[in-house]
């Protein structure tokens, strides 16, 4: 069924603009279509408009990060007909909804030595988690929630590399201890990352070879519970 949507679309060109602005767009689109289709419709009228494409293409709608494969009728049911379209991270916007993803790619290096090159594909699927954490904009050393989700998967895949992986994500200043709950920032809401974080923290505390002042303090708190 066709539905009418009122959009506020983030527009910015890092080569020419000092500040971003929102362009109002009213579209009619079949509810069976996807967000990617909606973005293509916008581009039909605005030839210079750019948006992420490909397997893990994701944007923000009304503040929540989602893959562009989501169906329009589901989006309308959840958010209503007035939608604000933003890039995953406005601070990293290059052209409209496309962002510079270098920081996300570089974080893979933290675990690169303990996983296979083919695992990067899975890592890339955690782009929503990476850019949903508010910590990313506040602490540049934070390894990111995407990498934490990936670390949990890699421990299951390579149990013999568990200790090294845990050690790499256990730093107080940059690791798992800086994670904040982002389940509400994802669409559809997803609490699976929170389960992974609990698992990772428990595993770090149970791994006696990982020892620094902060982890030891957490271990003492845990033992006193």
């Amino acid at each position: 069924m066709e539905c009418k949507l009122v959009l506020e679309v983030f527009r910015f060109d890092c080569k020419t603009d000092y500040l971003p602005y929102y362009k109002k767009v009213v579209v009619k689109i079949d509810g069976e279509k996807t967000v990617a289709d909606l973005l293509a419709v916008i581009k039909d009228d605005e030839k210079l408009f750019e948006y992420p494409t490909g397997e893990n293409a994701a944007i923000k709608i009304n503040g929540k990060s989602l893959f562009t494969t989501q169906k329009i009728e589901d989006i309308k049911e959840f958010f209503g007909k007035e939608l604000q379209l933003d890039p995953l991270n406005a601070r990293r916007a290059q052209k409209d909804l496309c962002i510079n993803e270098d920081d996300f790619s570089e974080r893979f290096d933290v675990l690169d030595a303990f996983v296979d090159a083919s695992d990067r594909k899975l890592y890339k699927s955690y782009i929503r988690e990476h850019y949903s954490s508010p910590i990313l904009n506040m602490e540049e050393d934070f390894i990111g929630d995407g990498l934490l989700a990936f670390a949990c998967d890699m421990i299951q895949k390579y149990p013999d590399r568990r200790e090294k992986i845990l050690e790499a994500i256990s730093k107080k200043e940059s690791g798992v201890w800086l994670h904040v709950n982002i389940s509400n920032k994802l669409y559809p809401q997803d609490t699976s990352l929170e389960g992974k974080i609990v698992y990772l923290k428990n595993e770090i505390l149970n791994e006696d070879s990982i020892s620094d002042a902060f982890v030891d303090a957490q271990r003492n708190i845990s033992r006193g519970m």
Partner: protein, 273 residues
Amino acid sequence: MYRLFDNIIEKDGANSFVLAAKELLSRLDIEAPVLEKSKPDIATEGKALNQEAFLYNCAYNLALAKGEGADLICVEDSSYTSLNVAKIMLLEDNNLKNAVLQKLQKDNLELCIDTKVLHINEILRDVVGFDKLQKMVEKPFDKFNIAVFNGNKTQNLETNDSILTLVGANIVSFETQNDSDGYEILSASKELAEKLAGKIMLDAFDNAADFVVTNDARSFVMFEPRQKSLECCVGRDIELSVFSTTQVVLMALGCEDKSKLGLDFHKVPTTLI
């Protein structure tokens, strides 16, 4: 029969939740003595450090209440979530269930997953009833804009909003109402935690809120007793009172006794008008 769970997280800093709930239940003629000898709620943050202790504490409290033939009333969100999450975990995982069972046996307690856990807002909705509650309102909040901070919670939000609306308050929307309050990273980085909390309080202030409502003890201790520190962190004055829904209802019912409202434990000065 009810028992009030008072062993909440951050009990010292968030004692106003317990005091206000006791007074409100008393005014509503609902008998709910405190659940004696309970174990503390260590919340989801504690669960991440010691899952076994989290489950044991929750199971212990559920068993104590069941032993007294009572439903448990939670005065804030963290304990309510912990007890309900623990029930689900114990139902779904037999290994965890057996481990907890054995520990409880040493305390001469039986595992009771069917103990009813109620939020005080559910008591207002289902036991008192919204119609009766509305008729009891003496001092409506119809000149007040309230910023309700929900954080990551998705349950019982409508009930909370309904209660605040029926006392006449205007609920304002603000962008950070579902953000992290920073409590979960407080031990790792006080600075980042306070930046997160400060941003939320400023957002509430900038959206014309007269005060903030939160029903989570963890959010409360980030927003209220730390407010001076948050102001330093974000570089602006905030000066916003923070209340629980229970306190707001009590005030709407005409309670002006600051000690019964739990306001003696607040750091931000509140003038009752």
